[in-house]
Amino acid sequence: MLAAGSIVRQMALRPARLALHLALIVCSLLMAGPFLWMVSTSLKPNDQIFAFPPEWIPRVWMWVDYANAMQAAPFALYFRNTGIYAGGVLVFQLTLCSMAGYAFARLPFPGRQAIFVAILATMMVPSQMLLIPLFVLLKHVPLAGGNDLLGAGGNGWLDSFAGLIVPQAVTAFGIFLMRQFFQTLPAELGDAARIDGASEAQIFWRIMLPLTKPALATLGIITFQAAWNDFLWPLVVTDTEATRTLQLGLQVFQDLNSTDWALLMAATTVTSLPIVVVFLVGQRYLVRGIALTGLKG
């Protein structure tokens, strides 16, 4: 009886379900359409690119556009630079934010609450406001980039990986996220080790940190993605090919090749591929982090 009833209900719902799926498929295609169009354009021969009405399937598959695009600008170098930048920021953030986050969650020290609130307060300042002072600061780092002891004469940390990475080495968001995760761990976890005489640093390193792998994955993905996609900061700090990142290289490439859409779209596809893969592999961590902190994408 019950089963029959639910089948009848399902049958009645079917048209509505079908309509929902149809709507969702259309919307999904609208959302993914620009990317499909990007890939389609990158593979089309030149005369087909400007066809009107547009044609989606290439008549000839121009895989050679990808090789040409990679040769038209030093993309291998941009990839390496972006890897150093994103990797460097990642290592710093995971280390420093988890240490600070753990201290704010579990290690009482004088002024803990006040310092935590002060760090959170810096989130109110728009990062763009810091561009000019940071530029001046990096330019005057002593004994770097041709500077003397007083920070004059050269370019300091401008156009260097140290200049790109170190100011991004720690964020209030990262500390907040790690603190939230550490607070979900039972405080008694370290007690057995404490009785055995383990130091607090050992408890953090051997017991607490291994339990926060999901949190580290969340912070890692968010950080890596932000650095990989970053544009304004590298635009201000970098100056030459030696440190130019992928997003910046892509933008310069676009300025120079604004009419060669196949080449441009091939470069754009290659640039976005790694970050899409990172997202697809790690999306459950990303979504969890967003749900937990309700912050920042």
Partner: protein, 312 residues
């Protein structure tokens, strides 16, 4: 081992009198300071000092090659009479008014549609979220191509329904709407994710009770879902307003502020003044204005909308 069980955990012991000499607490204090110090030093050097320095530079004439020279309020007076600054302010406001409701309404609709148990829901959600993870440069370059007036995808789609599309990024009227449409497309997945998390916190029995009482789907949505989403809505609204005032990449790639400054936003103007014209004192003054705008906007939001929102 006195008091081992009771006070080993830090939070319990900290309030105890005379606990300062407890070796575990001493170790916790030392380790805590040690763990916080590197982060704290970086914060002071790369956040606190720069904020203070930005405020100082705002009162100087500073063009990189010579040291900053104190000029009092001159930058702010100049700003008040600078037509481009006010155009940038107006454009930024225009962008916010278009972008914020657009992303919020579409993100909410997507979340409601994708909240239920639907076959393939993960694939749908991924399709909606992919634009969020790609960079603004990539997105802008793709849309530059889509907005092409002659052979672009958008004007072709419009021609299918008999509409002659405008010149989009080449038109003073349509360039800003084009930037807004692209931004809504890029970010509505983020709004969707926040709303999805909030929707999952609404207990199902509320809907069951409502449907027993004969409420329609529309009633349930407007009388149950929407009110219970208020904290999420408030959060998304505040975040979206703030991010609206920070638009840069899309403008930099798609329009360079043009045509005729019709898409020059505040951050774009700050960048041009500071790093192309190298008038860093004036740029700092404009970034103080940016900070003030965001600060005032957020305060107004909290005052007007945040009063009965408990958790944010």
């Amino acid at each position: 081992m006195p008091a081992a069980e009771a006070s080993l955990t830090s939070e319990g012991a900290v309030a105890r009198k005379g606990s300062r000499r407890h070796p575990v607490l001493a170790d916790q204090r030392r380790t805590g300071l040690l763990f916080v110090t590197p982060a704290l030093v970086l914060f002071v050097v790369f956040s606190v000092v720069p904020v203070v320095y930005a405020f100082y530079l705002a009162f100087t004439d500073y063009r990189v090659l010579t040291p900053p020279r104190w000029i009092g309020l001159e930058n702010f007076v100049a700003m008040a009479h600078d037509p481009v600054f006010w155009v940038a302010m107006r454009n930024t406001t225009y962008y916010a008014i278009g972008y914020v409701p657009g992303a919020m309404v579409l993100g909410l609709i997507a979340a409601v549609l994708l909240n239920g148990r639907i076959r393939g829901v993960t694939a749908y959600r991924t399709a909606f979220y992919i634009p969020v993870v790609t960079s603004i440069i990539v997105a802008s370059i793709i849309w530059l191509w889509i907005y092409n007036p002659q052979v672009g995808l958008l004007n072709w789609a419009l021609s299918l329904i008999g509409v002659q599309g405008p010149a989009w990024l080449y038109s003073t009227t349509w360039a800003m709407p084009a930037v807004i449409i692209m931004s809504v497309w890029k970010n509505l997945g983020y709004v969707m994710i926040i709303y999805l998390a909030a929707l999952q916190g609404i207990p199902a029995h509320l809907y069951e009770a409502a449907s027993v009482d004969g409420a329609s789907g529309k009633d349930s949505f407007f009388k149950i879902t929407l009110p219970l989403l208020k904290p999420a809505t408030f959060f998304i609204f505040v975040i979206s307003c703030i991010s609206s005032f920070q638009v840069f990449g899309a403008v930099y790639v798609m329009t360079k502020g043009g045509p005729v400054n019709s898409t020059t936003t505040l951050v774009y103007e700050i960048y041009i003044i500071s790093f192309q014209a190298l008038k860093m004192g004036y740029g700092a003054a404009e970034s103080v204005a940016l900070f003030a705008a965001i600060f005032i906007l957020s305060m107004v939001n909290f005052r007007l909308l945040g009063q009965d929102t408990e958790y944010i």
